[in-house]
């Protein structure tokens, strides 16, 4: 039958010559290739000492951002959860009480916000869907663990620290259009 590709080779079973039969030149040839690799550029790094450079938009574990005043941005709208193809996100909303204005930006906030990191496929759709710029993926990795329960990350892990020095910078993940939109004074939240 005619092959589908034109790459097939006809194998011959011709009798080997003396030089071929002693295998010595072939071994030397093979060793040459092996030692030649010593002088090539290395493709591996010495991991704990050397770490690979991450892309600015690497999709690692999530962070729930706070705004400039340290209030949680997430308003528990559920768009990340409906956008999530792996259904990894669950949340329980609560209403902000008077006196909690310094903690939550909107009148509704998520009392419970959980991401199952074993389900998450790190596609970044939640980041895309978020209307409040609350959830972002970071360059951090999800740590290995022995217990499955420990992979369900709650708000204690996900919400970034309130201390301005320890905030996670996500400015490189935002497109110029987004940054321009954030300056538009026609929108009340930018004033």
């Amino acid at each position: 039958m005619k092959s589908l590709t034109n790459r097939s080779k006809v194998v011959s079973n011709k009798k080997m010559t003396f030089w071929e039969r002693i295998y010595f030149p072939a071994i030397l040839n093979g060793m040459g290739i092996t030692f030649g690799h010593l002088f090539r550029r290395k493709t591996t790094v010495q991991y704990p000492e050397v770490k690979r450079e991450f892309s600015d938009i690497y999709r690692g574990r999530h962070v729930l951002k706070r705004d400039d005043e340290g209030r949680e941005r997430c308003t528990s709208c559920g768009l990340c959860a409906v956008a999530c193809p792996a259904e990894a996100i669950t949340m329980v909303s609560a209403e902000r009480k008077p006196g909690e204005e310094h903690l939550y930006r909107e009148e509704k906030y998520s009392a419970v916000y959980e991401i199952d990191m074993l389900r998450c496929i790190f596609c970044g759709d939640c980041e895309e869907a978020c209307p409040k710029e609350a959830i972002f993926l970071t360059t951090e990795l999800v740590k290995a663990d022995y217990q499955r329960e420990n992979f369900i990350y709650g708000k204690d892990v996900l919400v970034e620290p309130a201390d301005p020095a320890k905030r996670i910078d996500v400015s490189k993940r935002q497109t110029p259009e987004v940054i321009e939109f954030k300056k538009d004074k026609r929108y009340k939240h930018n004033r």
Partner: protein
């Protein structure tokens, strides 16, 4: 005279002819055809007498007044309150003028409507959201502040967000016509008008909860469902129970075996089929109270249809090139 009233009127809407009774409005004639021909309506509600004519969302172009007088009407007309005439030719989506006007109407409606959809409980089933998605622009022309009001409670179970109100008057008509004694109405005039209860009187009528269902936006919301969940995480199920006051035919919005909220059954035009009483709506939240009939049909275009699957009796795409999916609601 009787012979005249039963005379059928022949109307053409977006090149589709339809025969309707005398006295039918253009909107009702369009609804008889169905599909994309139907102009959207924010204030008109077929079950509430006197509603309509306020929001101007349903504006259409009448390019031929009638068979006897074929001149076009000078301006766009509100289809919800304009009766048809024999031989009338109406343009809805086929007229660029109408689409442009509707864009402007959406902008007007959104002038004072806050963009708090992520917080609002109505998001996902909001008429204004659908309308602005369909016709609106992303930009706004004004830099003025939106008007703001404090949140108020109307009675025990209803929350009023006056910020979100578009003054469609549907709830006022509902309270007027469904309950024996209206306790709320629109106060003040023009730009500063607002929905209010007379001296903060609680609305305690047995059918007052229907104001939530008729509200096209999230101005009136169910306090028993407030921030409980988002509508697209819930499964709408047809349910019924024996009720002394109403028909007891409702939609139970379920999450697993829990009922999160109960609403009336809405038809394809977003109007409830039968109004339900407050007991059914607010107090019966236990799955044992209801006979669950089965999942409701959800429009493919709705966000609520995410992750909800329906059994289909026939393939929905018969000829993909002809775009039969367009008709599939």
């Amino acid at each position: 005279m009787r012979g005249l009233t039963t005379k059928k009127m022949k109307v053409t809407i977006d090149n589709i002819p339809v025969e309707v009774e005398d006295g039918t409005t253009i909107l009702q004639a369009a609804r008889k055809i169905g599909g994309k021909v139907v102009p959207p309506a924010m204030c008109y509600y077929s079950k509430l007498k006197g509603s309509g004519g306020k929001c101007r969302t349903c504006l259409v172009k009448v390019s031929q007044g009638s068979a006897k007088d074929p001149r076009p009407m000078p301006k766009l007309v509100a289809s919800c309150s304009t009766p048809v005439q024999d031989g009338m030719v109406v343009q809805n989506l086929t007229s660029p003028e109408v689409v442009e006007a509707r864009k402007g109407i959406v902008e007007f409606l959104l002038l004072n409507h806050p963009l708090d959809c992520p917080v609002c409980d109505q998001a996902g089933e909001c008429d204004l959201q659908d309308l602005s998605f369909g016709y609106g622009m992303e930009e706004t022309a004004t830099e003025d502040d939106r008007r703001e009001f404090p949140m108020t409670d109307i009675g025990e179970n209803i929350k009023l967000h006056m910020n979100r109100c578009i003054l469609c008057y549907r709830c006022v008509y509902a309270a007027d016509q469904l309950t024996d004694k209206r306790l709320h109405g629109v106060l003040y005039r023009g730009d500063v008008s607002e929905i209010g209860t007379f001296i903060r009187n609680a609305v305690t009528n047995e059918f007052s909860g229907n104001m939530i269902d008729v509200c096209p936006v999230g101005a009136l919301t169910d306090k028993t469902f407030r921030f409980k969940s988002r509508v697209w995480f819930l499964k709408p199920m047809n349910a019924h129970r024996e009720c002394a006051r109403c028909a007891g035919k409702t939609v139970a919005w379920m999450f697993g075996n829990e009922i999160y909220r109960v609403t009336g059954r809405k038809d394809q035009f977003g109007e409830v089929e039968e109004f339900i009483c407050n007991e059914c709506r607010f107090e019966k939240k236990d799955a044992g109270d209801w006979v669950i009939e089965g999942p409701r049909h959800i429009s493919r275009q709705s966000v609520i249809s995410a992750n909800h699957y329906e059994e289909m009796t026939e393939p929905s795409v018969i000829d993909p090139i002809a775009g039969k999916m367009e008709k599939d609601e």
